[in-house]
Symmetry: C2
Subunit: 546 residues, 2 copies
């Protein structure tokens, strides 16, 4: 009775207990917009009323093309609580992918930031499902646009009641959708249920996870269109925490100042943000981010040196996490369990540099090609598989891919290659398609790349598999050298041999002028594998390794 795990409960709790807590937005022009959960609630009710007037049916999707700000926050609740769904659109995708995501979701209304209009205008002809555009601004701020029909957001809300009777929504109903970024093929849609995000939110407040508390001030740098902004706007609302939204101000300097001025205690972003902020802070010691209690870092692994620097110089601990669009996203966090916390601080970094422990409610296992769990020795690699009430049930309208995506007992095959150590820490060492399978053993391309790039003569390095007559696959390193530097394959091999066993060492070192990259800036290993479509021969007298 009354026990449905729906997002209106999250919103109502904030308004019931913390109506005066602030939601702060740094607008593009630098002005600060401040209001409270109580204010936001009234506008969310108005938004729901406006969606009614637009005739949006139960389950209809509205697309949102926006940076992080208070209107985006309102869109996180208005459609969902009134029985519709928010489609969080990634405007950084290439045009044909961007169009595909909106078609795939069937968005009927598209909400767009004024400063992101161009992307939508350039593709509007192809957005056949979209019946109306709403620009996220006031009437007098509405830019010239050829989008049609178009309204500004404030006019849309105007005149609607500041109260709304939320319908009884089934907890398994979809509240939102994101798309994977699709490095191979078209982006795939992931639908989230109310239940999944409710559970993810309560977990984010768990003391052994992110511990998001009403005492926190939360600044989600991670875009709200990326995997629910890592779930933070919902988790922060559940506890009634103050939230700070940066809109376009996501460069290290304005972010650092925002953290300082608003006394932010908890933030989350990809490592590059914190790398850049360290440079800024070193040059601007008057900016103080020591109110930070913890920084969650995800997307890719931060270097251990960065974690140390934030501890020692800024008193702002970095906690690494692992997750996917498919997992809402939080899967693991590198919090220190008791046995690790009791180690000398230098040894703690070994654990803090890993993807971490599965958060409460997340089941993880690492299995070999036969589906057997690999030993928890911190070295043996296998595919990471996860199961949780906040892991997706399958991709939107992709029945074939869904069959392959899950095991019989309901675990998602993540496609990530990982190890697990004796304390249960998971470390993600490669993507499945990139790991090198040599004679039945696996070699991490990522670990080789990191070590190659640690060599001063190397600018960029990537490692891909090439075919081998005897070992099936062997590693090949593709290298660009630093300006003016000179280095040979033999020298790099000596360098790698200090860290890795013989059988990990690449068989081939290719020096190139440039390594091809994907649209999201990652090394394009697929193109490299096509370019170096070679077969290595088994040599006489070759060691019988591995």
């Amino acid at each position: 009775m009354g026990a449905q795990l729906t997002l209106d409960k999250i919103l109502e709790r904030a308004v019931d207990l913390f109506p005066d807590r602030e939601l702060v937005t740094k607008l593009p022009d630098g002005e600060m917009h401040r209001y409270t959960y109580g204010d936001a609630y009234e506008r969310i009710c108005q938004l729901a009323g406006a969606l009614d007037e637009l005739g949006l049916e139960e389950g209809a999707r509205v697309g949102v093309v926006a940076t992080n700000h208070y209107r985006h926050f309102e869109l996180y609740f208005g459609p969902a609580c009134s029985g519709r769904s928010i489609h969080m659109c990634n405007m950084r995708l290439p045009d044909h992918h961007f169009v595909h995501t909106i078609e795939d979701a069937g968005d009927e209304v598209l909400f767009v930031d004024p400063w992101l209009l161009e992307k939508v205008e350039a593709n509007a002809d192809e957005l056949e499902t979209v019946e109306r555009y709403v620009v996220l601004c006031g009437e007098d701020e509405l830019p010239e646009t050829d989008l049609e029909p178009v309204t500004d957001y404030e006019s849309l809300l105007e005149g609607h009641s500041t109260e709304y009777g939320w319908p009884d929504v089934d907890e398994d109903a979809e509240y939102g959708m994101c798309h994977t970024s699709g490095t191979t093929g078209l982006p795939k849609g992931v639908a989230y249920s109310h239940r999944a995000m409710y559970l993810h939110s309560i977990m984010c407040g768990h003391v052994d996870a992110n511990g998001v508390s009403e005492r926190d001030t939360v600044l989600p740098v991670v875009p709200m269109f990326h995997a629910n902004g890592w779930g933070l706007p919902y988790a922060a609302t559940f506890v009634g925490a103050k939230q700070v939204f940066p809109t376009v101000h996501t460069d290290p300097e304005p972010l650092a100042r925002l953290i300082d001025e608003e006394e932010v205690t908890f933030s989350a972003a990809v490592p590059t943000i914190w790398l850049g902020m360290a440079e800024f802070l070193d040059e601007n010691p008057e900016v103080d981010i020591s109110n930070i209690d913890r920084l969650t870092v995800g997307g890719s692994a931060p270097p251990e040196s960065l974690i140390r620097k934030y501890d020692e110089e800024y008193d702002a601990p970095i906690i690494q996490g692992w997750g996917m669009t498919e997992t809402s996203p939080l899967g693991t966090l590198s919090t220190l369990r008791k046995e690790a916390a009791e180690l000398p601080s230098d040894e703690q970094y070994e654990y803090r540099a890993k993807a971490g422990l599965p958060v409460p409610g997340m089941q993880t296992r690492i299995v070999d090609d036969d589906g057997e769990e690999v030993p928890a020795d911190g070295e043996t690699m296998g595919e990471l598989q996860v199961r949780s009430p906040w892991v997706t049930d399958g991709y939107h309208d992709r029945p074939e891919e869904n069959e392959a995506a899950f095991t019989e007992d309901g675990y998602l095959r993540t496609g990530d290659i990982a190890t697990r150590d004796e304390l249960g820490y998971v470390d993600v060492v490669d993507r499945n398609k990139d790991v090198i399978k040599s004679g039945g053993e696996w070699i991490s391309s990522v670990q080789l790349e990191n070590e190659l790039m640690a060599h001063e003569a190397v600018a960029e390095a990537t490692v891909v598999a090439v075919e081998h007559e005897r070992w099936q696959e062997r590693p090949m390193a593709v290298i660009t050298t630093s300006a003016g530097a000179d280095v040979t394959g033999t020298e790099l091999e000596d360098h790698l041999a200090e860290t890795f066993p013989d059988w990990w060492l690449p068989d081939v070192y290719e020096f190139v002028d440039e390594i091809p990259k994907t649209s999201t800036g990652k090394f394009d290993k697929k193109r490299l594998r096509e370019r170096f479509d070679i077969v290595l021969e088994a040599e006489q007298g070759e060691e019988a390794e591995p």
Copy 2:
């Protein structure tokens, strides 16, 4: 997919990540029993196998009559994870109530502590559903008993596999049952679903609730037959915390020593335990409980002086909570929200002495007789109503009472009278049946009693309603004086007038030799109301209050 919120997930998490964490039991003879989650898991599997062999069907209930110890812990999981249900029997109930609970649950097997055999033996003739008794001891410890058929627990487990394939249990299936203590009428059964206890457990780890962490050492003093031991054994297992069980050693002295020796960080019990422990600690300063991070107190409100003493003298903060058997039980906790934590420490006690804030996931409201929410002014009283995924759907086999127990929108009418202040803190001021309804306004019998008992000449005081021609009800105080003390009603009225408005002051002061008590030691207000079945007349010139 794989997303069912069932208790096997809680158990498997502990064994997966924390197999070596200890579960410690202080046995009745003073010996310490130590083993790990890994050990416990194997025995839980054996227990499940034994229940199979006994032919217990899906959904069958087993009764447990036991103190807190490792075998009881095993019974918290074995029946539930294998698809049956544990009925946690309260052996402190009077015999006919005790028998009723077992009949009502239809327990097929009864697990009994050797030191509690007498209670069961005395009633065995009437336990018609029970087909087998299992005494919670080893073969050579089995006492003489006329229970029939009877086995010892260790022989029951013997020979069964230490692995077990948990069935796919629906999260809405019952995992356990407790009975209310039934101060009026027969005890009522409350069935708990897997889902309810899973959610309660993850909430107990929330940083804005109890924050139970893997770093904790948890000692549940509260009996495991009382509202799931306040959910602590499950919450502690979810996070893999070390647990300490006291069996019969629940007096202040052995408890204090256990807290000291096992470095307990978190414990929970009724106020009398901590009152008694304070006396012991003052006389035995070598016993140190400062590892305690927080003590949860529930069942009744602790005096503010006790909270202060534990802060100042033992560095062991007391956090008050409110809950019921019907609410799994956690409903509110007097944690300090930011606005309260920023007050001078002296003013913080005003909030810490209240029942507290609703925990994440618990919806509360306080309504008047017309079902309207009362103002959040900390003074206006109303009935506390609650809704949550871990609030019961209704009493076992009580269709009529269930109709009255819930509002149309699914809130449980708790029968508790409460106030709510501007920060959202709930304070429970009376039971519904005890509050005095005078001229449309409510007077708290509990607050008058506390103030009367603060008078040095008063030993015991209780306040009940008597009928009044004009005001419907007026308060009557029933008093026993301290040995050798002498006091008049007028003096007591003057004393009360320092704190309460005129219209709260009792119209009658009755001095008696003894106040009748219920079987659980509470003032028997029902008998008092029957004894003083009087009608007060409206006086001439009476003030038109309230």
